[in-house]
Symmetry: C3
């Protein structure tokens, strides 16, 4: 396994309080912002074309999530991604439901050409984006993480960045190094926006760490460890969400270092 | 009372995990998605005109809620409703605040002409849509459910579908059969989106059952029974919402069969 | 200190159930609506240009929050503000992130010219709006409340209304009278939308009371006292939010009268 110092990553996130500019879907904006705040980052959601480019240039990192994209927000995403690229600011692409819908698949393909620092999706989305799959249905994945391992590595090589495949076991690769993160809780899949919030946390961690692979792994481990804690306290999917936010706050470097990362 | 097998409806929902395509207002997207997930359905929110028609054709059911509608989303709603109709996919219209505002009243009237499988609203909205009332103020109802019974039956006859009037006692009719659902909790009215989430659950249940009247009743009973459980655990309107989601998950066929349905 | 009867303000809010028309950012719509419901007001979110002007004319108060503004919602905000002004309906401007971004700064400056009843922001936003500061980064403030006291008073004199500066200690002024509200909890700053919901509660209280200064102070005191209660019950930022909503409901006139208001 490559050297991944999760303790240092947690400390770096807390020390730098990265400002994450989120262009994300309207279903998950609240939990995304709250997850960033809980973990120790700062959220800002600016998705007007008049502002998105300027704001991306001053943010610590940018998240582009196409979950409820339409013409105006697609334009804002293009401007933010270009601006982030020009400024050397890390940015994350979350290709929600790509593969099943033509409009967003074309947009995501265009955005991949702008070389996102990280692409984070489920197996169906990564396969579709790599040109190898049929897409899921909405946020569900109909493919398994390991089935997408090869496509993820190829996509990472193409972008020169990192690709993360979320599933029961998460897989993170930059084309040369591949790391798997286990643990977590099935309740994450029953909480709207948990996966989308993970994309925002990837952006925060990548802004706070030197190596995007390490930052991406740290975000996945943080979400998984917090989910395990929350699952022990929750009485169902409704009480899981606030408990998970509490746990995102409480998880420290020591807890993160004990995550199931191989 | 017509034969309504709520135990079978609950089992059917769990077995089929219907994918509900929600074109709904931005205030309630999160709780709507979480309520669907908690109950055992799958949400997807796609409201770009470029995608809404295609997605409606592959979804199990469609929800059209005009709460924060504007030109773009109105167009997406028209496309989704037409696509659902052409595919024989059940769809639900929630005419939020119709009657008080011209723009959405014209849109909802147009959508009624596309014959929604179910119309779900409060008494003021149903009266307005049936051409018989003055509308409420926002999501409040200034009329009582029983006052809307005749208008609901007439509207159901006109659409050939089901009309549900939410209130202290809910009323569900297809113009021939009328069923009332009691119980629930006043805390539902103090939780933003509980009524809108009910509309999405109606879509899910109608997708999972043969008879739209039965599916609509099952959704209302599910919400009411879960609200009663949550009200016993909650310390106020804030802790009610997560407890209600927990209860939507926990309510099984036996609990549903004990609902106040007459 | 000017005479501020918080007990009477709380009773007036409960008695009148003001309908607050919120044109606000999509990140915070849910918590804003739930905070209004918890406190005893009624929310409605209508942001289509086709409807916003008409609805503002019938609402008890209007909130204009530019957090995620874009061309369509900017137009709806202009129409709502003009309509509220013409109807003599109180309206609140929340200039989120003004100063740092040109588009919304121009819009907010234009809206200030329409003389909002109350402007509520953090120190950086108020300084920027008064033409005296550099703006914060998103919803963060990089300036202190007391640094903005002079600019707030000048801005209030210019609009003929009230200006509120939120911070560790809040400052409310109409240019002649200045009141400070202490207490609260740092967890408010870790809950997305707590500040934006405060803006909506200001609108509700101003609709329910005679003197906008008193209404604005009452809203700030209500939020602070509820936050103190919630902080004692919460296990972190996730469980704080529902506990805060519970407390917004539970806080009565007596509790409000004991707030740290000087």
């Amino acid at each position: 396994m490559p050297a991944v110092d999760l303790r240092a990553a947690r400390a770096a996130l807390r020390a730098r309080t990265p400002l994450v500019h989120c262009l994300t879907n309207t279903v998950v904006q609240t939990i995304t912002a709250n997850a960033l705040l809980a973990a120790g980052a700062a959220p800002a959601m600016v998705d007007a074309p008049e502002e998105a480019g300027d704001f991306a240039a001053v943010a610590s990192a940018v998240l582009v999530n196409v979950g409820t994209v339409h013409a105006r927000t697609a334009e804002a995403m293009r401007l933010a991604a270009r601006s982030a690229g020009a400024a050397g600011t890390p940015w994350v692409l979350d290709p929600v439901a790509v593969g099943g819908l033509v409009y967003r698949t074309e947009l995501a393909t265009e955005l991949v050409g702008l070389r996102p620092t990280v692409v984070r999706g489920n197996a169906s989305e990564i396969l579709a984006l790599a040109g190898a799959g049929s897409g899921g249905r909405g946020v569900d994945s109909t493919d398994s993480t390991e089935n997408a391992a090869k496509a993820a590595a190829e996509l990472a090589t193409r972008t020169g960045g990192v690709v993360a495949v979320s599933g029961e076991v998460d897989l993170v690769t930059d084309g040369r190094r591949t790391i798997r993160i286990g643990g977590g809780s099935a309740l994450l899949t029953r909480t709207t926006g948990a996966g989308c919030a993970l994309g925002a946390l990837v952006a925060a961690y990548v802004a706070a760490t030197e190596d995007p692979l390490v930052g991406t792994v740290a975000a996945h481990a943080h979400v998984a460890v917090a989910a395990e804690r929350a699952a022990r306290l929750a009485h169902g999917p409704g009480t899981f969400a606030p408990a998970w936010l509490d746990a995102l706050d409480a998880v420290d470097g020591e807890a993160l270092a004990a995550a199931d990362v191989t």
